[in-house]
């Protein structure tokens, strides 16, 4: 049980009965970057939200468990779960525009957690946040901390959020498509920044993305998700060298390459999709509805 994050057999469904996660198992080792890829709607964010304890109320976990740093989140009371997640995990969100409270200054929003959840003294929290702002190459920490979010650019806000995520020294960071809302030139910088801080701080990251190019750059291991089901899991170099699953191969074929721009126009093959649908039907058949342990 040395894994930083250990999700096993996690299934979740909507009130309609539709399953959004299908017996997902996934581990993130300490200090490792685990990429989670899949197309839109695959359930990537759902996994992130489950780990961070913020699933929408309509989504029910019907089986499986999540261990964060050895603590079984499903067995904890709501309050203990909040405390464990608050102390051990953090989020780098997708949209830096909506992730900061527009009517509060940036500084207090960054130190809040350190002071009120981790119990640090105010000046220690302040120093810590400044140090992190420096690490994300923000040169005027005073001005930034005194600003309201709308006074900062999107890239600046994402840096602020990255700094805030690392400031509390979490064991695990969930980065949910942290660069999709940014423009292309900024995307690269932000990605490099996350990779750099990750290495310096030794933080484990569950990196959600639909971009295989990003996967290749940042992760050591990859989990490929389709319709809430893990279809392939591998070391990143191995996945690119020799993708096992037809869907992974199709996904790779659909990823733009500079050598072959036309390849990006290829849709995922119909036969591949048909094969996936069959696999999922089999998985759903094996799974007994309502037979979950019903943890919330």
């Amino acid at each position: 049980m040395s894994a930083c994050l250990d999700i096993s057999n996690l299934s979740a469904r909507l009130p309609s009965g539709q399953r959004v996660l299908r017996s997902v198992s996934l581990t993130v080792q300490p200090g490792e970057v685990r990429a989670l890829v899949g197309e839109s709607g695959a359930g990537k964010s759902m996994i992130g939200k489950a780990v961070l304890g913020v699933l929408p109320p309509s989504v029910r976990i019907v089986e499986g468990s999540i261990h964060l740093e050895g603590a079984d989140l499903g067995q904890l009371s709501a309050k203990e779960r909040r405390r464990v997640i608050g102390a051990k995990a953090a989020l780098i969100p997708q949209d830096p525009l909506t992730a900061l409270n527009p009517s509060r200054r940036v500084g207090p929003q960054m130190t809040d957690r350190l002071i009120h959840i981790l119990g640090w003294a105010a000046d220690k929290a302040d120093r810590r946040v400044r140090q992190l702002l420096d690490e994300v190459h923000i040169r005027e920490p005073d001005r930034v901390m005194r600003s309201y979010p709308h006074e900062l650019s999107g890239g600046m806000r994402q840096r602020v959020l990255i700094a805030a995520a690392f400031a509390s020294e979490p064991r695990l960071i969930v980065a949910d498509e942290p660069t999709t809302a940014l423009d292309v030139t900024v995307q690269k910088q932000i990605l490099r920044l996350i990779a750099q801080l990750q290495q310096e701080h030794g933080t484990a990251i569950l990196f959600v993305t639909h971009d295989l190019g990003v996967v290749a750059k940042i992760s050591q291991r990859v989990t490929v998700l389709y319709a809430g089901k893990v279809v392939e899991e591998a070391d990143t170099p191995a996945l690119f060298a020799d993708p096992q699953h037809a869907y992974t191969r199709a996904l790779m074929a659909a990823t733009p390459k500079y050598t072959d721009p036309m390849a990006s126009l290829m849709p995922v093959d119909d036969t591949v999709l048909a094969g996936l649908a069959a696999e999922i039907a089999v998985a759903d058949h094996d799974w007994k509805p309502g037979g979950g342990t019903g943890r919330g």
């Binding site: 405390r83 608050g86 992730a99 009517s103």
Partner: protein, 283 residues
């Protein structure tokens, strides 16, 4: 908080200045009524009855807006009436605001059964016609300043509750609320630091609007003689008297109406102006 929001580079809008100026005049007149009023508002003098305003023939110096049919100075009566109008406005609006905003915040942020209960109460409450409701309440509590204030607060908290509930509801779906939950903050703390901070501009605007409404309701109640004792001059009371002598002394009706109109308008404009200044994104 206020300092950064008053950063230079933002022009003061005219409505905020004009509305604020009128409200300041009324407020000063109300606070310093005994010093400002040229005459005793209750002193009758049958030799001076129905004097016209200063610019008309037959006016007397010192009686700027003329006198009523008992020879009482109209300006002095309006100034003392402003006192009661503002006391009611502040007390009733703040009471309605505190009750309504708190319940609205809870309903909107927590949702679920607290929301169902609070929303149902609001629905039932709003089924009563407000003015009749006020008259009924004052009839039950008896007349007097306190019961007028209570009646207005009891009726109008729903206005705050509905608006704040809707805003809190949309706030609670925002990403930064989710982030605060991930960070480990409790629901109550999030309600205050993340949700309330964003609905505050609306609360301020509503509060100001409600003060204007309270002024009107107080005027209506005193118009139908259900407000405070009929000795004290109130704007509604003066309007009621003026109505009786409209053909002999129109000014007794017109001036309190103007005062009422300007005050109510100023309250609502002042609130809107404050809201847009307070909103860090809009400004």
């Amino acid at each position: 908080m206020a300092d950064a929001r008053a950063l230079p580079g933002r022009r003061l809008d005219a409505r905020l200045i004009l509305a604020g100026a009128w409200l300041a005049i009324v407020l000063i007149a109300a606070i310093f009524a005994p010093l400002v009023a040229p005459h005793d508002p209750l002193m009758q003098d049958l030799m001076l009855e129905r004097l016209p305003p200063f610019w008309m023939p037959g006016s007397e110096p010192g009686f700027w807006l003329g006198t009523d049919s008992l020879g009482r100075d109209l300006l002095s009566r309006l100034i003392f009436g402003a006192r009661i109008a503002l006391i009611v406005a502040f007390a009733a609006a703040i009471a309605a605001c505190v009750v309504g905003s708190t319940l609205g915040l809870i309903a909107g942020y927590f949702g679920g059964w607290p929301d169902r209960i609070i929303s149902r109460i609001v629905d039932i409450w709003m089924a009563f016609p407000p003015v009749l409701f006020a008259i009924l309440l004052v009839a039950v509590f008896g007349t007097g300043l306190m019961s007028v204030i209570i009646a207005i607060a009891v009726i109008d908290w729903t206005r705050f509750c509905r608006v704040i509930r809707a805003e809190a509801m949309s706030q609670s779906r925002m990403d930064y609320v989710e982030n605060a939950r991930i960070a480990g903050f409790g629901r109550f703390r999030i309600m205050i630091s993340e949700v309330l901070s964003n609905v505050l501009p609306s609360i301020v605007a509503l509060l100001s609007l409600e003060m204007g409404i309270a002024v009107i309701v107080e005027a209506i109640l005193s118009f139908v003689n259900l407000s405070i004792s009929s000795d004290d001059p109130t704007w509604g009371g003066i309007i009621a008297e003026g109505r009786l002598s409209i053909h002999q002394a129109w000014w007794v009706l017109v001036f309190p109406l103007i005062a009422l109109f300007l005050t109510v308008l100023s309250f609502s404009q002042f609130g809107e102006g404050l809201k847009s200044r307070f909103d860090p994104v809009l400004r």
